[in-house]
C-alpha cells in the first residue's frame, strides 16, 4: 500500500512538473526570443542556435524545428538546447532551404504557441573553422584579466590563445592574421614586457614595442597578402569622459601615422606621403591583390576642444610589393568633406568587390559612438550605402570578411548598450546583407547576461591557431627583442 501511495504521489508530481504543452493557447504573433534568431540566415556549419524566451517569467519552452526531407528536432526545457550532432545533420539536410521553428512557452501555468518562424540555411558555407577575438572588460585606464581566444563556429568550444595572466597582467591586443590564415599573425603586448609579436609559419619574432624613430608603438595592423609586409598605424591616443549626455567617453589621437613593416628585413618603411605633419593617417589595410594600401586620414584638430571636428576620409595609394614602396598619388574614395561624416575600420572583401567600414559623426574610435553604423563601398561603382540590413541604433563596428567574401562578422553594442557582442550576416551577389545573428552559445541568455567582457578585434580563422603559449610567455618575459630599422621615403 505504501509503495502504491509513492507511485501515485510520484505520478502526480510528474504531472505537475510536466513540461509537455497541454491546453495550449495559440497566438498570432512571433515569440520574443533571446537571441533574436527569427528570420536569420545561417551557414550550414554553424553551431546550434540555442535560445531562450526573452521574458524571465517563462518557466519552460517546447520547440520543434522542422527541416527539409522530413528531418526535425524537438527539445524542451528552460531553453532550447539542441544536440550539436543532430543540429548539424538537420542543417546539412536543409542546405539551401528553410527550417520552420515552432515555439510553445509556459508562463504562469499557461502554455502559449506562437506563430512559426523560419531560419534560412544558406548554400554558402562560412568558409572558416572559427573565429579569434580578444575578450576584455570595457574599462578605461586600468585593466585586468584579458586574453586572446579562438572559438570553433561549429560548436561552442572556446580556447585561449594567450591570456595576460602569463605576463603579469599586461595588455594584449590586436591579434591579426593574414587573410584568416592562422600561420601568420601579429599581436601586441604592452607594458614592461611589451613587444609586437610577429608569427610566420610557427616562428615568433618579438619586435621592440616602441621605436624611438617611429615616435611611438606599432598599433593597428593589416597583412599584405604576400605575407612579407604588414601595414601598421602608430597612434598617440588619449581619452576623456563626458559628465552627462549619451556618450561616456571620447577616444582620440593627438597624432597618428601609417607605415609598412617588412618582416623579412625588420625594417619600418616610412613614407612622408602617409605621414603628413598636419594629418592623422590611420587604420591601414591592403587590397586583396596587394596593389593598394587603403587608409583613413583626417586633418588634425586642436585637442581636446575640437575633437568632434576630426573627420576621416577613406583614401588609397598604390603599393609595390617588389620594392616595398608606395606610389606618389593618393586617391580619395570617401571624402569626409563631402559626407560630413568620418570613416573608420575599412575592410576590403577578399574578392576585391567591396570595402566595408564603420561610419561615425567624427573621430574613429567607433565602439564608443552609438551612431556608428556599417557602410558598404562598392568598388565597381564607387558608391557607398549604409548597411541598414544589419545596423542598429547602437554602435556597429569592426567588420571582418570571411575568406569566401560571402559572410562577414562585426561587433555591436545593440544587446545592452555597452558590452560588444559578435554578429554574423551573409551578403549576396547584389551586395544585400541578411539579418545578422548573434554568436551562438550553449545557453546564450545565461552566458551573455553574466559576461562582463566585450568582444574585441574579432576575425575569422581558416583553421585553429596553433599557438605555443609557453614559448610566447618565455619570449615576452625575456629581454629578447628584435631590433627594427628605419627607412624614409620622400624625406
Amino acid at each position: 500500500m505504501r509503495n502504491l501511495c509513492l507511485v501515485v504521489v510520484g505520478l502526480l508530481l510528474l504531472h505537475g512538473c510536466s513540461r509537455q504543452p497541454t491546453d495550449v493557447v495559440d497566438v498570432d504573433r512571433l515569440p520574443a526570443l533571446y537571441p533574436d534568431y527569427i528570420g536569420v540566415t545561417v551557414p550550414v556549419d554553424i553551431a546550434p542556435l540555442n535560445f531562450s524566451m526573452l521574458s524571465d517569467s517563462v518557466s519552460a519552452i517546447d520547440v520543434e524545428v522542422a527541416g527539409a526531407k522530413g528531418t526535425s528536432l524537438h527539445v524542451s526545457g528552460d531553453y532550447a538546447d539542441f544536440d550539436v550532432d543532430e543540429w548539424h545533420s538537420l542543417l546539412a539536410a536543409s542546405r539551401g532551404d528553410s527550417l520552420r521553428v515552432s515555439v510553445c512557452a509556459l508562463k504562469d501555468g499557461q502554455w502559449t504557441r506562437y506563430r512559426d518562424f523560419g531560419i534560412y540555411v544558406s548554400l554558402d558555407s562560412i568558409g572558416a573553422w572559427g573565429i579569434t577575438y580578444r575578450r576584455v572588460a570595457p574599462g578605461y585606464e586600468m585593466y585586468g584579466p584579458m586574453g586572446l581566444y579562438q572559438r570553433c563556429l561549429g560548436t561552442f568550444e572556446e580556447t585561449a590563445l594567450f591570456e595576460n595572466g602569463r605576463i603579469n597582467g599586461e595588455c594584449v591586443n590586436c591579434h591579426t592574421a593574414n587573410a584568416t590564415n592562422p600561420d601568420q599573425y601579429v599581436f601586441h603586448a604592452r607594458g614592461d614586457h611589451g613587444a609586437t609579436i610577429v608569427c610566420r609559419e610557427g616562428n615568433f619574432d618579438a619586435l621592440q614595442s616602441k621605436n624611438d624613430s617611429l615616435g611611438g608603438a606599432m598599433v593597428y595592423p593589416y597583412w599584405h597578402p604576400g605575407g612579407r609586409y604588414v601595414a601598421f598605424s602608430t597612434n598617440k591616443t588619449s581619452q576623456m569622459f563626458h559628465l552627462s549626455g549619451p556618450k561616456r567617453i571620447e577616444v582620440y589621437d593627438s597624432s597618428s601615422d601609417v607605415f609598412v613593416f617588412d618582416t623579412e628585413t625588420n625594417t619600418i618603411l616610412k613614407d612622408t606621403l602617409i605621414m603628413k605633419k598636419y594629418w592623422a593617417e590611420n587604420t591601414p589595410v591592403f587590397s586583396p591583390d596587394g596593389r593598394w594600401l587603403y587608409f583613413t586620414t583626417a586633418r588634425r584638430q586642436v585637442y581636446p576642444t575640437d575633437y568632434d571636428k576630426e573627420k576621416y576620409s577613406l583614401c588609397r595609394v598604390s603599393f609595390d610589393a617588389q620594392t616595398g614602396r608606395i606610389g606618389q598619388t593618393v586617391d580619395t574614395l570617401v571624402n569626409a568633406a563631402i559626407t560630413g561624416k568620418s570613416v573608420t575600420w575599412p575592410r576590403p572583401s577578399y574578392d576585391d568587390r567591396y570595402i566595408m567600414y564603420a561610419q561615425v559623426d567624427y573621430g574613429y574610435f567607433s565602439v564608443w559612438h552609438p551612431e556608428a553604423d556599417l557602410w558598404l563601398l562598392d568598388l565597381e561603382t564607387g558608391q557607398s550605402r549604409p548597411l541598414d540590413e544589419v545596423n542598429s541604433s547602437r554602435a556597429e563596428s569592426l567588420p571582418r570578411w570571411s575568406a569566401t567574401s560571402r559572410w562577414f562578422l562585426f561587433t555591436s553594442r545593440r544587446d545592452d548598450g555597452l558590452y560588444t557582442r559578435l554578429y554574423f550576416a551573409s551578403i549576396d551577389e547584389q551586395g544585400r546583407a541578411t539579418k545578422p545573428f548573434m554568436l551562438p552559445q550553449q545557453n546564450p541568455k545565461n552566458y551573455y547576461r553574466r559576461l562582463l567582457d566585450s568582444y574585441n578585434t574579432p576575425d575569422f580563422t581558416a583553421r585553429p591557431v596553433a599557438t605555443d603559449a609557453g614559448e610566447l610567455t618565455r619570449l615576452l618575459m625575456s629581454d629578447e627583442r628584435t631590433e627594427t630599422y628605419l627607412t624614409i621615403q620622400n624625406p
Partner: protein, 203 residues
Amino acid sequence: MKKMLLILWASAICLFVGVSCSSSASLPGTDEEHAYDALQRAADWNEIVQRYQQSPPQSLACRKVAQLAMFHLGRAGREAVYECLSDSHDVLTTETAALMMSDVYMQLGFVAMAQRAAFEGMVNVLDVKRNERALRRLTETALVMGQYELALKYISIVEDNFSSSEWVQTMRPMAMNPELIMQHPVFGKLRVEYEKQKDQFFL
C-alpha cells in the same frame, strides 16, 4: 557648483549602498586605503580628519576623502569639494582607491565620474564574488543615467552571486519601471541633477 548642496543629503547613499557590501579589504589596495575606505563608508568623518592631521596619507584618494571629511565637518569650504573632483585620472591608483573615489563622486552628485571610477575598480578583479560593491555601484549609476538594460544585467549578476535579496528587490523594479527611479529618495534626486548637468569633460 550647485552639486555641492547634494552632499547634504547624498552622503546617505553610502549608508544606502555601502554598508551591507563586503569590505574592500580583499581588493587590491594599500592598508591606508583600506582603512580610509572603511571610515568613509562608515561616515566617520571625525576619525578621518584626526588621522589625516596626525599623519597625512600617501594615497591621493585618501587625501581626497580627508578633504570630503573636512567639508562634512564644516572645517573646509568649497575648495575642499573642488579638491575632491580634481586629479580624477591620477587618483585611480588601485581598485580600492577607485571604489572609494566612486563613493566620493556619488556623494557629490557626479554620477558619470562615479560610474567611471566603479568600472576601473571592477575590471582588475577576476573573481566576480569580490565585485559586489562595484556591481552595485554600476547598477546605481546605470539607473540614474538611464542605462536600464545594463542595470538589469548587473542586478542579475549580484542576485546570482550574493545574498542581496533586499537590494535586488529595491533595484529590479526601478530597472524594469524607470518611472520609479524618480520616487527613490536618493536616485530620484541624482537623476534630476544628472539631467540638469551641463556636459563637460573630465579625465
